[in-house]
Amino acid sequence: MTAPILEARSLSKSFGAVVAATDVSIDVPQGQRVSLIGSNGAGKTTFVNMVTGYLKPDAGQILLDGRDITRLSPRQVTRLGVARSFQIPQLAAELSVLDNMLVAAACNAGAPSFLRPARTPEAIDAALAILERFDLAGHAGRPVRELPGGVRKLLDIAMALVGKPRLLLLDEPTSGVSVDEKFPMMDTIASAIADAEIAVLFVEHDMDIVTRYSDRVVAFYSGRIIADDRPEAVLADEQVQLYVTGRRKHA
């Protein structure tokens, strides 16, 4: 067993009377694909926001490669190799798809420079190479505001990958995408994240996708982890069926 890249230890977080996380502990080894499931308000996105520095936990500790990142800002966490995508894609709508990628590359290359041109042939080639993995190269010149939702979701993830993260968090990558497109989209994402070393955590509601694309499932309910195991085991868990998936037992 490799050393975990991410260790969350007993995280707690509440917003006034609303408890969003209680004693949440997760270790994620390199390269593992982990899905986070749970009903709305169960604490999945809160967990993602704490790991990426957007929220500070009230208690507990987050370690990345053994280093404490609990109090770091999203910017600092990003620089240490953690990237995320968003449930609602966070893009520069007036810029082209390619320019969005170049922005990601510019931010990633340390402090952006006053003198280094943004649109060099090398930078453009590198950006297009990633776009091609997401089947987005054909959209490169189009402004983001003209694009359909599914394309935006993919671009959002493509931008997260520009910085070659070691830990990638995807917040509902297939939300807002039609049922027919979910599997093709997850196939695209899975093959685009070519590097098997990247640990991927993704928030997901579709249990068929969870079963097919994850090595491990963590189920949240009311701010707590109620199950953490292989997908079959978690989906068979009585509590998970009661609180998360809503599936009745058959016999």
């Binding site: 995320r84 520069a92 320019d99 931010c107 990633n108 952006p112 089947d135 054909g138 010149g141």
Partner: protein
């Protein structure tokens, strides 16, 4: 601006070509000094020096904030140059212009970290408040001439004193050269990685932070750069007028620069100077033929621009990257 996606277009260097065109334009404009009438040279000097202040606003606009208080740095630069001339006995115009820029940075820089926390109307009003505080101080400071300001003697140019009738000529050359070079530098910045990140900040700060860049540092630095540009513009104006007064920091002065920035749009550097020249020409002719109504002319002018050229007059010649249909790659 370079827009389309050319993957394999060898020998293409749009940035360099653009800069070469800029240098050529500066040289041509300087050459014009030998043929244009003297009053027009003065109008050109004013346009260049007001344009460079506006360039600072445009630079901030690209990051999504608009300063309604560039009068602060305009006045700071003007007073810094005038005081350096009066108390230190300096007379070299280029040196005084540099002192103007630096003086404005010294005044503005302490506020940059505070301002970088605000956006939209709050940023605009805070910058306005700062400029009005300076106005209040200047009006009350009798040592600086109070509300009348004070005059300064004619500057020298690289050690050469110029006769009265040559003053406009020399000032024009200096203003065009200095603001032209700053304009080219701005173009380099706008086309740089940092320039592109600023455009993304304008639209989505959260994402930029999540990509690892500091939005506040970027906006604070932009404010300081804009202060330098404003100070240079203030110093050039003061040297050309031979006079400085608290009105430099009054809110109507700041408003005029915002007016220019909206007129120009934030995509073209040249548009900033074209807008400034148009404004100065309208001002001169209105003052001549329709005294006291030039604000009316300006208002109508702005109305027409906003209605028909919402991206500013720069959109007449610089197409936006996104505005062009996709012209590349296999269609997915």
């Amino acid at each position: 601006m370079d827009d389309t996606v050319h993957r394999h277009a060898p020998g293409r260097a749009p940035a360099r070509r653009q800069l070469a065109a800029g240098v050529a334009a500066i040289l041509v404009l300087m050459g014009c000094a030998f043929v244009l009438p003297r009053w027009l040279l003065f109008v050109g000097t004013m346009a260049a020096s007001h344009g460079v202040v506006t360039l600072g606003i445009v630079l901030m606009m690209r990051g999504g904030v608009v300063s309604f208080g560039q009068g602060l740095v305009f006045a700071a630069g003007g007073y810094a140059a005038a005081l350096a001339g009066m108390y230190w006995g300096l007379s070299d115009a280029l040196l005084l212009v540099a002192i103007g820029g630096i003086g404005a940075v010294v005044i503005a820089a302490p506020f940059a970290p505070l301002l970088s926390r605000y956006r939209g109307i709050f940023f605009a009003m805070l910058t306005l408040a700062l400029s009005m505080v300076l106005y209040g101080i200047l009006v009350k400071t009798t040592a600086l001439g109070g509300s009348d300001g004070f005059n300064l003697s004619r500057p020298t140019f690289f050690g050469i004193g110029v006769e009265a009738d040559q003053g406009n000529f020399a000032m024009y050359l200096l203003a065009v050269a200095v603001t032209g070079l700053l304009g080219l530098a701005a173009r380099v910045y706008f086309d740089s990685t940092r320039g592109l990140v600023a455009l993304a900040v304008r639209e989505n700060e959260l994402r930029v932070e999540y990509l690892g860049a500091s939005v506040r540092r970027l906006l604070a630095t932009d404010y300081i750069i804009a202060a330098f540009l404003g100070g240079v513009g203030g110093a050039l104006t003061v040297l050309a007028l031979g006079h400085v007064e608290p009105n430099f920091s009054y809110w109507t002065t700041s408003g005029e620069f915002v007016f220019l920035a909206i007129l120009a749009g934030h995509h073209s550097v040249a548009a900033v100077f074209v807008a400034a020249l148009l404004l100065e020409l309208v001002r001169s002719f209105s003052a001549l033929y329709f005294p006291n109504t030039w604000q009316l002319a300006l208002g109508l002018f702005l109305l027409v621009v906003i209605r028909f050229l919402p991206m500013g007059i720069g959109s007449l010649w610089s197409r936006r990257p996104a505005a062009r249909p996709a012209s590349t790659g296999p269609t997915a």
